[in-house]
Structure formats: structure tokens, C-alpha cells
Symmetry: C2
Subunit: 199 residues, 2 copies
């Protein structure tokens, strides 16, 4: 589930929310799973991975991560990302282009406080995407951290939110004979400009 | 469905095929849907979209597209892509990095011949991703082309296959408490090097 906080009433946001509602009514599994593609300047490489979208707060789309992970480094050196959502239950693909940055520390603190002890123990114990000798070692680190956790355990500096602000939306709806319908909203100085694309 | 032709027997390919089989047995929907992320040099932008993977031919992974589409232009200027697969039925994510180029004209011709008249009419009639005034216009172009199609209609030059060859695989398997298991295979001069990553 995605939590909407004071969501934008601009046209692509209204359209997004109505599709989200439709997907929800159709029991879409993993409705919060989004793929985030980023660019590594250092390696001249595109990389993509799934993350769970937690909030849409006005026009900011927020998920959480380790700030030392490869993706965090990529966001820092190239702040433009591409986000892809596919809801099979309504045969809808949503393509977004956006700029990404860290959320406020306060927002991350509050989200951290609301999570389970297990999730937070993992956030603390894992050096995300670093190599490790065995999965047993991962489990050992996790359970050691979990046992040390108290109600006073605070968010570590190396973990927090990322927020992206879309400047481009494509809503793609599958149709018979692949006559798919593609609506685009692109942000320009004077607001969102709409167009249709060929399938 | 993905068609395997003489597939590579290298370790990550064997692993991929066994996961594919498992997803198939678990009635995975849209098993051939993959997200392909590319980089536009011109715009300094990452872009991603879903395509249907049709073949794995030895170590080449093949899908088809319009050669004048934005993604085709991006592949030409930056031949590295990132490919993402998520099979929810077995809670498995596969992350691939690869180099991409056009397939042979012969391969594209043969694939075109085996497709339905409707699919080929769309390949011919659509200027993929160009703006259009109305969806009615899309349908009109499609049906006009469909009515002109004969058994002699040949593949247009502007439509054909793309083939990507992976040099990096990550197999991510979701696990309790997010102690997800991440296996990596990276191609080096002397073959595939394996490692484990922290969740």
C-alpha cells in the first residue's frame, strides 16, 4: 500500500490516483513495488532495481534505503531517475521521469519510529549490496542487532528516505491488437502539457 | 513464454532456466515481460519501459521493436542497458546488465514471417512513440494497413530485433524479515565470478 499525504491535485496526480484505486479494487499484488533506474556516472552504466514506494506526499514520492548503497551514490552523481510501475490486474504501465534527493532527517526519523523492530534491525545490520562470505553471516549480524534493540534505538545516519518529484508521466494501457493507449503529461514552465503517443 | 534456442550452459544461464521453470510451474503471469532501462546521451536521461522477451538464443536475449523509436536511438548512442525481471509467483527478482545491438536482418525476417497479420500490421502502421492527434487516427491507420496486407508483405526496414548479451546477473530471492538472498555472477576475462551480497 502507498500512503497518500495531502496529494497534489494536478492532472497527472488525479489520473494516477484513479488508476491506483482501480488496481486496488482488482486486488493488485505488490501495488507499491516500483522499479527505479539510475545512472552511474563513474561506470557509465544504467542500473535498475525494485523498491517499495511508501508515501506520496504532495508531489514527492518517497521510499527508504541505505544511504551508502550503490543506488544512493548514483542518485547523488546523477539526480535524474526513471520509474516504472506495472499493474497487471488492470494491464497498466506507468512510466515516470523524475529528479531525486534525500528527504528531511525529520521525515526519516518519523518513518523509522513507526517500523517494526525487525525491519529496523535489518536497516542497521546490513551494509547493503556489500559482498559477504555467507548468508549465515547475514543472519548472525541481524539477530545480534535485533537482540540489542531497545525502544530508544534511533535511526542510523546511513539509512533514510529518498524523494523523487516527477516531471514526466506516461500512462500506458494495453488494448486489443496492441493498439495500446499512451497518454503523456510533461511538465513545462506554464504547467503540465498533455499529448497522445502512437502504440 | 520465452523460446530457448540452443541456450548457453554457463552457470548463470542454468540458474536462470531453473528459476524460469519454477515460475512457469507456479503459473507466473507475463513471464516474458522485462523492463529495459537505457540512457539517452542527448538528454542525459535514464528511461525505462517493458518489452516482451521472445528468445534466448545461446547467450543472446532477443526482443523486437521499431528501429526509429526513442529506445532504439538510445541503444545506438549508449549500448549498455539494465534489464529487470520480477516473478511474483516465486518472489524472485533478476537484475541484468548487458550490451545491446540489432539482431541480423535474417533473424528479424524469420520472426516477422511467423507473426500474426494483426501484429505485423501494427508494426508497419505505427510510428512508435510519435505524438498523434487521436486514438481514432491510430485505429484508422492500423485497419487501413491490415486491409492492404497480403501473404507477400515483407518486414519493413524500420522494424526488427534487438539482442542483448548479459555481463552481470543478480538473482534476488525474497526471504523472511527481509533477509533476502542475493547471488551475483559477473563476467570477467576468465569466466563468471560469483559472490553473495548483503540484503
Amino acid at each position: 500500500m502507498i500512503k497518500f499525504i495531502n496529494p497534489s491535485t494536478e492532472k497527472p496526480y488525479i489520473h494516477f490516483q484513479s488508476l491506483y484505486q482501480e488496481a486496488l479494487e482488482n486486488q493488485q499484488k505488490g501495488i507499491e513495488a516500483i522499479s527505479v533506474s539510475s545512472y552511474s556516472q563513474e561506470m557509465s552504466e544504467v542500473e535498475a532495481r525494485y523498491v517499495n514506494l511508501k508515501y506520496i506526499h504532495n508531489n514527492e514520492w518517497i521510499f527508504f534505503s541505505n544511504y551508502n548503497s550503490p543506488k544512493a551514490k548514483q542518485f547523488k552523481s546523477h539526480s535524474q531517475v526513471s520509474v516504472l510501475i506495472f499493474w497487471s490486474s488492470i494491464n497498466t504501465q506507468i512510466r515516470i521521469k523524475a529528479l531525486i534527493s534525500k528527504t528531511s532527517m525529520q521525515f526519516s526519523d518519523e518513518h523509522f519510529k513507526g517500523r517494526t523492530k525487525e525491519k529496523n534491525a535489518l536497516a542497521i545490520s546490513s551494509n547493503q549490496s556489500q559482498t559477504i562470505d555467507s548468508f549465515d553471516e547475514v543472519e548472525k549480524n541481524f539477530y545480534q542487532t535485533l537482540n540489542r534493540m531497545t525502544s530508544d534505538t534511533v535511526r542510523p545516519d546511513f539509512w533514510g528516505g529518498f524523494s523523487f518529484t516527477p516531471y514526466y508521466f506516461e500512462f500506458w494501457k494495453g488494448h486489443k491488437n496492441r493498439l495500446n493507449k499512451r497518454y503523456v503529461f510533461e511538465q513545462q514552465d506554464d504547467g503540465w502539457v498533455e499529448c497522445l503517443l502512437q502504440p
